[in-house]
């Protein structure tokens, strides 16, 4: 996976580079908008990760320019400014996703994964880990062949964890996928729901699939 990072902050760029290399990404770093634009025009990238606040050409105009020129490389925008407005602005400019700072590395990886999946255009009909399956269309959940009844929220939570394919999903990503909240509810809503989901899919079965990753969130995978 070849990735272009357009970010003026050296340390953020270094962090992104090391995070992305853990999943086999080959990273090119451009430290301002102009260089970023030139690199992106050359093509050959699977995705662009671009900060909005950049010296010279800012992130929004950069994406707009690329889209006008017909460069279709998927773009994830990063920004420290206001959340909701900038998300709308970023997507309007032609970005594919938006990640507000501060973010966890796992969140960036999750977005990149879903971007790649969307681009590959593969629609899966069944999500599966070990003997746990979720039929995406009928919402039917089975563990070890036995049907498990889940509430709509629990069902969405399970889908969100399954789609991460074993990677950690942060509480913020769970909140936005399951509740569609754009704010931090400050409650332990996620933990309560994960507990309920565990009761239904893990309690009577081995091995337990839902794992708590301290501070970072939850993962659904074989231990």
């Amino acid at each position: 996976m070849r990735l272009l990072i357009i970010e003026d902050d050296r340390k953020t760029a270094a962090l992104l580079t090391s995070t992305l290399s853990t999943v086999g990404g080959v990273v090119v770093w451009a430290k301002d908008g102009e260089r970023g634009l030139n690199e992106a025009r050359k093509g050959g990238f699977d995705a662009l990760i671009c900060d909005i606040m950049l010296p010279g050409v800012d992130g929004l105009s950069l994406v707009r320019t690329l889209r006008v020129e017909g460069v279709k490389t998927p773009v994830i925008m990063l920004s420290a400014r206001g959340e909701v407005e900038q998300r709308v602005e970023g997507l309007d400019a032609g970005a594919d996703d938006y990640l507000p700072k501060p973010f966890a590395s796992s969140e960036l990886l999750a977005r990149l994964r879903s971007l790649m999946r969307r681009n590959a255009g593969q629609a899966v009909s069944t999500l599966k880990v070990a003997d746990l399956t979720l039929d995406v269309a009928s919402r039917e959940v089975r563990r070890g062949g036995r049907r498990v009844d889940l509430s709509p929220r629990e069902n969405l939570l399970l889908e969100c964890l399954l789609r991460a394919e074993g990677s950690v999903v942060s509480r913020r990503d769970i909140i936005s996928a399951v509740w569609e909240y754009d704010f931090d509810p400050g409650t332990n809503l996620v933990d309560v729901y994960v507990r309920r989901l565990r009761d239904k899919i893990d309690r009577d079965f081995t091995p337990a699939l839902i794992q708590t990753v301290r501070c970072l969130g939850y993962a659904l995978r074989l231990p």
Binding site: T12, G82, E85, P102, T187, L216
Partner: protein
């Protein structure tokens, strides 16, 4: 005309008018005296004593003059003080929201006009420092986000690094928790700063508040089940308000979260949504320790956490209720906090309701 000149002019006019009246009566008396002498000789004129003549002048000339003076003076005072009253009214209406609108000036350069100018300049400076404080918070929270991302990412790598010693991973995880707390405070501050600057994205669409409240009751039941707190929605009238659905959800969840956190084991939470005149009134009442009287007025202050929170292990930054308040105010509503006679804590949110159309 300047204030001083105006008062002087009115004063002179009143005095002159009084003088005219006194003069007219003196002339009248003297003229009568002359006619009497002409008609009946000196004897006839001597029938009225000088004292009597003087009294007549005082009575018919002096009294009306005094009356005129008092009336005129009263009128004069009222007219002279009117601009001061107007200025006082403008001063009374001044608050954070209208610091940028100057008070209209007469432009005649008098004392009051100068005072208005000084007041407007003060308003301007005040507005500027408010803006600066706001921008400072906004910029500070933005500037903090990039380093927080770097710290978070680095700690994440340390906490999940498989070759690292268990104790190091543990340390990294513990630091990660603190960074997340910090990030959450920065996020809340940035929300408040944007709310203060009127930058909250405010969708103005009809929102069925009763639907949100029913969802909330269900969610609260799940949140509260761990502590065996009972949750009841005793009344929920169909009511809509104009606003931003996401922010209203945030507001309700915020209040419910407080009601759970500051509750006691096997306690209760009661919610109602009713129409009162033209308002939608949402109340949430919970059992548990209540704040001492002297601290109750401070619950909406930023970073305020009662002793309750400091003494126990309740998580939170003390910004939750400030955020709730800013959301309510962005919807032209009112929020209040009180402790009922039975010791339960109640938060009441009043929002202007949309006319029933459903």
């Amino acid at each position: 005309m300047t204030l001083r000149r105006r008062i002087l002019l009115y004063y002179s006019i009143t005095l002159s008018l009084s003088l005219v009246i006194v003069g007219y009566w003196s002339w009248f008396e003297f003229n009568e005296q002359r006619n009497v002498v002409l008609r009946g000789g000196v004897e006839a004129a001597l029938k009225e004593s000088p004292l009597q003549e003087t009294l007549e002048i005082i009575f018919y000339g002096g009294l009306p003059a005094i009356l005129l003076g008092i009336l005129g003076g009263g009128l004069l005072m009222r007219r002279a003080l009117r601009p001061i009253e107007e200025l006082t009214e403008a001063l009374e209406k001044t608050d954070v929201s209208n610091l940028s609108n100057p008070v209209p000036r007469s432009g005649n350069g008098d004392e009051l006009d100068r005072m208005t100018a000084v007041f407007n300049r003060m308003k301007e400076r005040l507005g500027l420092s408010f803006t600066q404080a706001r921008e400072f918070t906004l910029n500070a929270s933005h500037e903090l986000k990039t380093p927080l991302t770097v710290i978070h990412g680095t700690l994440e790598q340390m906490a999940t690094h498989e070759q690292a010693a268990e104790v190091d991973r543990e340390r990294a995880a513990s630091l990660l928790e603190e960074v997340q707390r910090l990030s959450s405070i920065v996020g809340q501050l940035s929300f408040l700063a944007r709310a203060d600057a009127g930058l909250l994205p405010s969708a103005r669409e009809p929102v069925a508040l009763d639907d949100l409240v029913r969802d909330l009751a269900e969610e609260t039941m799940i949140l509260a089940s761990g502590a065996e707190i009972s949750v009841t929605l005793s009344e929920c009238q169909p009511l809509s308000v104009s606003g931003d659905k996401m922010r209203l959800r945030q507001l309700l969840l915020n209040l419910a979260d407080n009601a759970v956190k500051y509750n006691e084991r096997s306690g209760s939470i009661e919610m109602t949504l009713v129409r009162q005149n033209d308002d939608a009134v949402f109340t949430i009442t919970n059992t548990g320790m209540s704040l001492p009287v002297e601290l109750r007025s401070r619950v909406f202050e930023r970073f305020f956490r009662g002793d309750l929170a400091h003494n126990s292990a309740i998580e939170g930054s003390g910004l939750g209720l400030s955020i709730a308040k800013s959301i309510v105010e962005a919807h032209q509503g009112v929020i209040c906090y009180e402790v009922l006679p039975d010791g339960r804590t109640q938060v009441v949110v009043t929002l202007p309701a949309l006319l029933a159309q459903r």
